[in-house]
Structures are given as structure tokens and as C-alpha cells.
């Protein structure tokens, strides 16, 4: 119990810290906010239940008014803005990534994490993000896709990184990669 609470809390803080450390991840000069990578890692490392809880905790704290999103954003205004779908989808994306990770135990960790991150962090997350965008701005699916589709290549890079980082963590701290225990 203590270990679960501590890991959930620390991974929620890790997502926030990834948004606070600028220039931490510059893949070949392309600036990428590492925050959604943090969401993917919560799922691939902690598994469905704990990973989802960690991200939910992060989202609740943002709603309560802590400036934890990249660029120091936070508060209830985030939930009224056109990007609301992404923030609502964050916990579900992490849960899905964790679920896929737990179902693919026969695959090598890195590959499984990559697939899990792609399904959770792109497929599920963008579904929610698009719906939110369409609802808040009264736009069609095609219009939403034209605007948000630009961000998908950056997220594909993050999917690869999530796979590599999860594999490295499984080697460094195998007992803490709960999705594989």
C-alpha cells in the first residue's frame, strides 16, 4: 500500500517535473514538451491501475489550481479551453497503455512499451483530444484533424522514446516496473 501510494505520487510529480524542466528533451533540435511522454511512461512502467491513478492524481491537482502543466498552466480554465479533451484523456491514455503492457507479457519490454504507448498515447489520447476540440470549437472531425494532426509526428517520437526508456528502466530497476511483475 505505502509503496503503491509513493510510486503513484512520485510518477505524478515526474509528469509535472518533465513539464517544468525546459530543454530537457530536444531530439535533434525539435523542441518537444516531455509531459505526454510522462503520461505514456506512467502506463508502461506502473501498469493500468497505478499508472491511471498517477495521471488522474496529476489532472486533479491541475484542476485544483496548481500550475503543473507545461508553461506553468493549470487551474479550472484548462478544462474550459479547446485542449480539454487531451487533459481528460490523459488518465485513460495511461490506463490503456498500462493495460496493453500487461497483456503483452510475451513480447520484449521495449517493443511492448512502444506498442502500448502508441495505442494509449496516440490512439486513445487523440480520440479524446479531437472530441474535446470538436465540441469546444464546434468543428468537424476533418477540421480538428487538420489542426491537431500536426502534433502526431512529435508524439510518434515520444512513443519510440517511451519504449526505449521503459526497456532501460526494466534493466535498471526491474522490481519497480510494476506493469511486468
Amino acid at each position: 500500500m505505502e509503496r503503491s501510494v509513493a510510486l503513484v505520487a512520485v510518477f505524478a510529480a515526474l509528469i509535472a517535473a518533465l513539464g517544468l524542466v525546459p530543454n530537457l528533451m530536444l531530439a535533434s533540435g525539435v523542441p518537444i514538451t516531455a509531459q505526454s511522454l510522462g503520461v505514456m511512461l506512467c502506463g508502461t512502467v506502473l501498469g493500468a491501475k497505478r499508472g491511471g491513478m498517477a495521471v488522474l492524481l496529476f489532472v486533479v491537482l491541475v484542476a485544483l489550481g496548481l500550475p503543473l502543466l507545461a508553461g506553468g498552466r493549470g487551474g479550472l480554465g484548462v478544462f474550459a479551453s479547446p485542449t480539454v479533451g487531451f487533459i481528460i484523456g490523459f488518465p485513460i491514455a495511461a490506463f490503456t497503455a498500462g493495460f496493453v503492457m500487461e497483456q503483452t507479457r510475451n513480447l520484449p519490454v521495449g517493443w511492448a512499451a512502444g506498442i502500448a504507448a502508441a495505442i494509449g498515447g496516440i490512439l486513445v489520447l487523440y480520440s479524446f483530444g479531437m472530441i474535446g476540440f470538436m465540441m469546444m470549437l464546434q468543428k468537424s472531425f476533418a477540421e480538428a484533424f487538420v489542426v491537431l494532426g500536426w502534433y502526431i509526428p512529435g508524439d510518434v517520437i515520444k512513443v519510440v522514446l517511451a519504449g526505449l526508456i521503459t526497456a532501460a528502466l526494466a534493466r535498471a530497476r526491474p522490481a519497480s516496473v510494476l506493469s511486468r511483475l
Binding site: A9, N23, G75
Partner: protein, 198 residues
């Protein structure tokens, strides 16, 4: 850590958080139900007045927080001008700004402790069912304490990289960063158990 509550004390700081949240919900429902441009202009005016009441500093801080919306404003207005439906675009933009501004207003006038009180109230049914919620509250406190700690450790890792390499710190920094976080979590778990557990 600094929360987004405004340091300018307003009268609304003293109101119960639950009431403010209920009012916000009602206002948002109205905003999305109304389809009249003149009414939306009126809503935005009223919202601006609410921001102006506590003084200029508060109004300026509130306006600053809306700045993140500018790409959407430009995008929507341009798109609707191109498709020849300017008024509809203006309505969407006005509604978006008012909705975000009102939500920000609640955040700016409600302290973290009051918001935590709302979470505690919302989790009451869980306690009736016999599910302990101390874990949730402890986890929230841990995140607030750990975010600056981890951010500092991340900065230290970036500095360590810079001291050893001419290249810019890349994604590889995240592996030791996550390992540090995991080790911290294990230490905290051990410390919690040593003090009697949750």
C-alpha cells in the same frame, strides 16, 4: 509551490468553494446553450467587469492568463472569415474566452486548502463504503512536495550532462531521471512503513 490563487484578496476569496464551483457549472451550461452573438458580447463584458472589481492588478493578471488562447482565436477567426461565416466564428471565440475566464476566476479566488476540502467532500461516499481515502490525501501532499524536488534533480542531471558533453542534453537524461524518481518513491515507501504505514 505557488498555486494559481491570486494574491489580491477579493471578496470571493471568502465564499465557499462548493458554491463557486456550482455557479461556474451553471454559467458554463448557459454559455453553451445560448447562440446569440449580442448576448455573448454581454457575457464577456460582465466577466470583464467581475475581473475589474478587485482592481487593475487583478484584471491584468486575469487577462495575462487568457493569453494562451490567442492561437485558437486567430485560427477560428481566420477559418470563419475564409469560409464566409464571420459571426459564427466570433461567437465561438467569445464563448471560449468567457468560459475560460470564468473558470480561471474560480481558480484565482479559491485557495488550495478550500479546493482540497471539495475533494474531501467528493470522496465522502468512498468513506461510507469503507474505503480509506487517507491514501489520496497523502498522495496529493507527496506530489506537491516532490514536484520541485524532482525538477531540481532534473536540472542537476542536465547540468551534469552539460559538464561532460558538447552536445545538448537529449532524451537519454530521462532514464536516470526516472530511476532517481523510482528510488525516491521506494525510500518514501520505506519511511512511511517505518512510521506506522497508512
Amino acid at each position: 509551490m505557488i498555486s494559481l490563487t491570486s494574491p489580491v484578496e477579493t471578496r470571493a476569496h471568502g465564499w465557499p468553494a462548493g458554491v463557486k464551483l456550482a455557479l461556474l457549472c451553471a454559467a458554463t451550461v448557459v454559455l453553451f446553450a445560448v447562440q446569440d452573438l449580442a448576448l455573448h458580447a454581454g457575457f464577456l463584458l460582465v466577466t470583464t467587469l467581475l475581473y475589474a472589481l478587485p482592481g487593475l492588478a487583478f484584471l491584468r493578471a486575469g487577462a495575462g492568463r487568457l493569453w494562451v488562447l490567442w492561437p485558437f482565436v486567430v485560427l477560428i477567426l481566420l477559418w470563419h472569415l475564409l469560409t464566409g461565416d464571420g459571426p459564427a466564428g466570433l461567437l465561438i471565440v467569445l464563448r471560449m474566452i468567457t468560459a475560460v475566464a470564468l473558470a480561471n476566476l474560480v481558480t484565482m479566488t479559491t485557495g488550495l486548502t478550500d479546493m482540497m476540502g471539495v475533494v474531501r467532500w467528493l470522496t465522502t461516499p468512498l468513506r461510507w463504503m469503507g474505503i480509506g481515502t487517507q491514501g489520496i490525501e497523502l498522495a496529493m501532499a507527496l506530489v506537491i512536495r516532490f514536484t520541485p524536488v524532482l525538477a531540481a534533480k532534473g536540472q542537476a542531471l542536465v547540468l551534469a550532462w552539460r559538464a561532460r558533453s558538447v552536445r545538448r542534453p537529449g532524451w537519454r537524461v530521462i532514464v536516470p531521471f526516472a530511476v532517481t524518481a523510482i528510488d525516491d518513491a521506494e525510500h518514501v515507501a520505506e519511511a512511511l512503513r517505518a512510521r506506522g504505514g497508512i
